[in-house]
Symmetry: C2
Subunit: 474 residues, 2 copies
Amino acid sequence: MHPLIKNVEYAVRGALPIRAEALSAELKAGKKLNFDKVVFCNIGNPQQLNQKPITFFRQVSSLCENPELLAPENRELLSKLYPADAIARAEVLLKNIGSIGAYSHSKGIPFIRENVAKFIESRDGYSANPEHIFLTQGASSGVQTMIQILTQNTSVGIMIPIPQYPLYSATISLVDAAPIPYYLNEEENWGLSTEDLKKSIEEGRKAGKDVRALVIINPGNPTGQCLSEQNIREIIDFCHKERLLLLADEVYQTNIYMPKERPFHSFKKVLLSMGEKYKDQELVSFHSTSKGMIGECGRRGGYFECVNIDEGVLEQLYKISSISLCPNVSGQIMVDLMTNPPVEGDASYAKYKSEIDGIFQSLQRRAIKLASCFNSLEGITCNAAEGAMYLFPRITIPQKAVEAAKEAKMAPDAFYSMAMLDATGVCVVPGSGFGQEAGTWHFRSTFLPEENLFDGFCSKIEDFHKDFLNKYRD
Amino acid sequence: MHPLIKNVEYAVRGALPIRAEALSAELKAGKKLNFDKVVFCNIGNPQQLNQKPITFFRQVSSLCENPELLAPENRELLSKLYPADAIARAEVLLKNIGSIGAYSHSKGIPFIRENVAKFIESRDGYSANPEHIFLTQGASSGVQTMIQILTQNTSVGIMIPIPQYPLYSATISLVDAAPIPYYLNEEENWGLSTEDLKKSIEEGRKAGKDVRALVIINPGNPTGQCLSEQNIREIIDFCHKERLLLLADEVYQTNIYMPKERPFHSFKKVLLSMGEKYKDQELVSFHSTSKGMIGECGRRGGYFECVNIDEGVLEQLYKISSISLCPNVSGQIMVDLMTNPPVEGDASYAKYKSEIDGIFQSLQRRAIKLASCFNSLEGITCNAAEGAMYLFPRITIPQKAVEAAKEAKMAPDAFYSMAMLDATGVCVVPGSGFGQEAGTWHFRSTFLPEENLFDGFCSKIEDFHKDFLNKYRD
């Protein structure tokens, strides 16, 4: 077996979730545990925790699945089950797709790429070229392709934030490139400074690495910060000076919980606003149907847009995409719906808006509630979530627990998280899975449990934390 | 950019199809060409050529997309649009899946893996373990993962048939392993002998390659042969002696056009029938929802089953699958439907059976018709398709055309295929994209054009071929 395969670590689905699955199976088999349900907070998977899908989106996709419903003889019945705009949208999609059971263009259905381009144009105020947009199976597969293409040999370095989403470290490890870490500053709500970036790239180059790209996750995962426009400009300027390709993971672009103080700025918009000097700055931006208020994770829909990328590279990207034939067509349809939702005047607009707003406001409330729960606990501090779906609290772990962890051959934060799982059924991911400053300990938890269960969820964590401290108090 | 990326070749979506797309766009824009439609015979994509999807499958998947239809208040209307067994199946699936918008288990939904295991058991008469089954995004992604895992360094060799499906050569090239070709014998209807395998592995080893696996495609692509049970035994014995992992691409297992003379035997069934001596022979078998009579290519559904694979390797496969989170859930649902279709007594059985039989018989007729069209042409010989969706005729190209090809900087078979595309709108793939014995020329064409247009399709090819020969006759 390839040694790189063994080296790869992927904590979001690592030891903790595997144990959580096993516990879940034990409960199903009737075993009595300290809890009656495992709560999977290890992964941003809203519909697993009963978030309702957007009605209009599912209506359209179900009609695309079964075009026979659109036959004239079914129309009368159909109109009792489906709003007119869902029917009309399905017809437009099917006309442009043909059958959803056929392989599509390897870059994705041209009509949908055109809609994505319009969405980007209206978001940013700058034109977008459908030929520079690639539909993908979730954002992950696009990230994997880009990192693979960038890695010419083992001396290639790719800058990643610490803490980071382990897709990046895992993929970099898989292709045998070198991660060049730069640290987010917890004291400044996980902000980053260009001094830190400079220090990081210098260290990478001193170590003989050919640093080629910088990964930025905005809003942050696992950290939840939203970058200011000024900060984004500085990052772009840094990449431009250092000739780095910018890989902007912007999958949480609508999970923005302080829209006045911390609105979302796309890297593309900021880059294009910076004028002529930056016109050769390369940027790839990733988006997904899995996050936002949509949460259609199982769909595996997404896209990336290439900005200022050489035509020769685009051709190679097309060729590599072709080997996997095409992204799944229902995921592509969901990308169309995400970027082209009902608008004012459409029959489904009011319902769509109330569903989106309802999910958004609830996420906002839960983010605040969970942060305040964590901050009320002895030895825990937690930054507010400006965006995304996670909190990344810092925990002070008593020396006795550190020793117990050592005996159990676990990192202290993994030990703490495992104890939480066993006591409460709540599955979080230890900070060591994302990277953290040496000597600090964290865990990542989503704030996705259902709102009507949220107080119970918080108090279970509180009780566990108190018991844990009492057990291991120095 | 990684140099391996540039080296990769993928002809099924190469220069010919790119030109075919361009011609198709010109036609749409109103340009007059020698034909009024491009016919994509370069890829096994039945629904692109208007093959109808299986009604029951689409009914179930549309209900899974829109579970609101299943609410009590909709039941009466629903029963007028959907048969009872489709409704019942959707309910069972949703109960076991939860929301199709959630990430599933990274190996695929356990309930569906159990159904796949039952399907394999009833096909082969030997038990199958759901834990050894991985659902994938089409067969391709499974193949890519297995080849990646096998390749420890650049000295690793993987045996592949020539001609082969270019997924194999492209993936091997991408991970920098070495393809070790073994030749199929055109004179014996693309059969293979263990002598040829022995010769091939010896040559690979002489060249310093650590040969680790053998890829077999049965029924063959692009060649369409079905292996006899005796031949499969010999191949297994060869792999056992040489300690090779067997990668069996069995995606065409139901595209069997001479079921009496050449039935399908799965490698697993034959392996397990060979007894104790072979109990450590490693085998991975791939299947897909894209082929057969289903043709749900855009769905990206598939699975692979691991037989006699070490637990440690299975764990690594699970970890690597986790990085991409999960295969898309609608693809997984299609795998469930493929392996667990309506049975006698179900409301939808009669319709299901008549659809499957209709597609099958039509494919059988078209395979015969196209082969006889090719064989009637001067300088063309073509083996019958025992299976799969393709013919791979051999063409004698006149010296004058070979010279013209040289001037155009094309391989002679690519030159011929390009001329066919320009004259008729029919897009095939030159044999050079699959590999062929030196000095021979071929092309691959699907026999998927609609049956009511098939005579016209054949006569267009006939006319073109005559004109081509007249133009370049030596």
